[in-house]
Symmetry: C2
Subunit: 453 residues, 2 copies
């Protein structure tokens, strides 16, 4: 019997998040206060974030304990399975072993609750009664709605209007978990009113939705705080539960990855799987390749500039040292809404600068094809974001095939695509079969990889 | 630490399906050939079903081994978790322990692949190249698409037109797994053409879609066979993997159910959890209550007649001895599309007749409210079908509370409701919170239960 899934017992679920800042050779430069241009302080952050989250944003301690109340909710779906992609391996006829961490098993369908749950918990513990946030594709907004309800918090989500109209299922999930969801821009905030005044039919943007959510939180300093789902250190910290579990599960599988792959928007999914393996590179002298995968149409890591930039439209976030396409960059409307962010988190940007990680940009036709092949061989229909990681896993597996070498590949499946099926319809057209690459295509892929790696 | 999930290791996954016919005291009367009115033979069934499935339909052997090729695909998601619903228990403030078997973890999102995979396998083994089937809400059609692709079979699904139009995501899932899906009635079959001639705007029906799928299979006796997803013995046989796993997992939890609950359309979800526990009642003298839950608007078990009836519209299926509302019964358009079938399988009908199981009918307002409470306390948004089982689990838990008694409840969560969210929208309206029953409501529930149990 070939074992398919490697499931960690609940009692072995890691009880601390890992902070890569403790071990990385070069720290990122500090966040700057956008007004004073001075390094930001915990007090600056506490204006919009819960105190403990502001503390975690700046801490350099190696591990942060996961509160028991958070572990209890994690156990609804965690530990998440590590899966051997035997069906995909067979279809590719590759000597490589392909593993993936399935973060799509959460009630929300993605990795986002890994940070939403602790964010809701710390806010609740501090006496906050209401959370505001923004959401693009809707994954993060759903996750905070789910998490907030568990701690009796009201949750108000500003969802980019174009997504609100296109993705009604995401809004309905938020409502089912008791949250309110507004199409942004709204008339509820100064930034929203200004945007609607300028263009009554504006589709909205993530940067604008962030500004609205922050303004809304600032209205009520006593009872309301803002939350965000990626980019910042404390978010990536919470996501490391993924990589911590994966390390234990790869041991169960008696395997060690040669390459670890994650898709990247702001960095929460990539950082979650990558940071614990990077600890092994930094502290135990291992030499795993760590690859961040971005869409060709939003190429902050492969074609962006490394500089200070803000995270939102109106400048409420700190200035962050990051690879960025500029905070006014307008990516095209690709299916992977979660990867359409202009910049990458500070730690990830520094890692790329230092050569500790690689980046690859993949065109949408390649990622969607990879997604269909994965769905047909592994059953799970992947989220459009996750198809980016799958595409690079396939590139690596085909390379192993051409070179006739064994190789162990691990990628992070950020979520399932059950409510992103229109992306598949647009890609598939009438073409229902034959997503396995031809020999000629394999040769071309490997040639291309030889150039970029 | 309170353990949340009870996960069976893959190597302990049951390797045989259980056949209740071997142990039940009174066998159902035989199926009849609708033309001759004589008991049906294996040869009669082989005209539309794969030979091995025709054999399994009539066998009385106690266990049927699960082929290794089927086990391999099962392992994509099986063993499915048994979960302790601690969040729901807390919200209900009940002394009862509530467990559920989560069948929503399959790639399709429901229990349906438990039978789709072996059906595709046996057809493939026999040299069949194409499968036809019908689907109402789309769960079964998705499952057969997923399963068929694994064995290189073409799959053609006739989806009731009104569902086809209302549930585009289900069709898109089928396409993503490589299957063709037609809105039924089509122009491809005699039954379809006749229905369209009679009414060009007909919304279609499940009975009609079955007739189309059967006619389509009969066109090509060499290469095509028909498959169906519920009602018949071989389908329920395959579903017993659920109950077999649940027995082992309840042992892991050091608990034994006082009551086992499943929702019922044709019987595949209910039979899957119930039959192995009924073996314990019949063979080991246990006295667990086994409850089938149906919608008040499709009350075949509580208000139907026990008689011979056919399974489709045009009379291609055998005459089956069953509790039925008549094969021309038109249920109202409730959210739980999977429970809108006019009859229950022969074994289940006989069990009810013999008093070995109970039946409860639940109104939609109660099931949807139960669904929202479950989503808010356990995270998982349940399928509208599954909310029926949840509603009765809640009834039982509230009864235990009023009586101040301990009780162990187990129900089968047939699937998640991620792509049924419009049902929640229609139910929720603007009302986003407070789904926990009041004291007055609890008293009323218990009074009502005292009357019906």
């Amino acid at each position: 019997m070939k074992r398919k899934k490697f499931i960690l017992p609940e009692e072995q679920m890691p009880t601390a998040w890992y902070n890569l800042l403790a071990d990385m050779p070069n720290h990122p430069r500090p966040y700057l206060n956008p007004k004073t241009r001075q390094p930001i302080t915990e007090a600056d952050l506490q204006v919009i974030l819960a105190d403990e989250l502001a503390r975690q944003e700046l801490t350099t301690e190696c591990y942060v304990e996961i509160p028991e109340e958070v572990q209890e909710i994690y156990r609804i779906w965690r530990p998440a399975p590590l899966v051997r992609a035997v069906g995909l391996e067979k279809a590719l006829d590759t000597p490589a072993k392909i593993f993936f961490k399935n973060e799509g098993v959460s009630p929300v369908g993605s990795h986002k609750p890994n940070s939403a749950v602790p964010q809701a918990y710390y806010n609740h513990k501090q006496g906050v009664r209401r959370l505001t946030t923004e959401t693009g594709a809707g994954q993060w907004g759903s996750a905070l709605s789910f998490a907030g309800h568990h701690f009796g918090l009201d949750v108000e989500v500003f969802m980019v209007r174009v997504s609100y109209d296109q993705k009604p299922y995401r809004r309905l999930m938020m409502n089912t978990w008791g949250a309110a969801c507004h199409p942004s821009p709204t008339n509820l905030t100064p930034s929203g009113r200004a945007a609607r005044m300028a263009d009554p039919h504006t589709p909205g943007s993530l940067g604008l939705a962030i500004s609205e959510a922050v303004e809304r939180a600032l209205e009520d300093p006593e009872g309301t705080r803002y939350c965000l789902g990626s980019v910042m250190n404390h978010v990536l910290l919470h996501q490391t539960i993924t990589g911590e579990e994966a390390i234990l599960q790869m041991q169960m599988a008696d395997a060690e990855p040669d390459v670890v792959i994650g898709c990247i928007g702001g960095g929460s999914n990539f950082g979650g799987i990558a940071f614990p393996f990077l600890r092994q590179n930094f502290c135990e002298g291992k030499k795993m390749r760590i690859v961040a995968v971005e869409p060709e149409s939003c190429p902050k890591l492969t074609r962006g500039v490394f500089q200070y930039d803000i995270g939102d439209f109106s400048g409420y976030t700190p200035l962050i040292p990051m690879y960025t396409l500029g905070h006014e960059f307008q990516p095209s409307a690709i299916h992977a809404g979660g990867l359409r962010y202009h910049g990458a988190g500070a730690i990830i940007s520094q890692l790329l600068q230092d050569g500790a990680i690689e980046a690859q940009a993949v065109p949408q036709t390649e990622t969607m094809r990879a997604g269909v092949l994965f769905a047909q061989t592994e059953g799970i229909i992947p989220a459009p974001e996750s198809t980016h990681a799958i595409a690079v896993a396939i590139r690596e597996a085909l390379r192993a095939k051409i070179e006739g070498r064994e190789k162990t590949i691990l990628f992070n499946l950020s979520g399932h695509g059950t409510i992103d099926l229109y992306a598949y319809e647009q890609y598939l057209g009438g073409h229902l079969q034959d997503f396995v690459p031809t020999d000629e295509e394999i040769a071309r892929t490997v040639q291309m990889l030889d150039k970029i790696i």
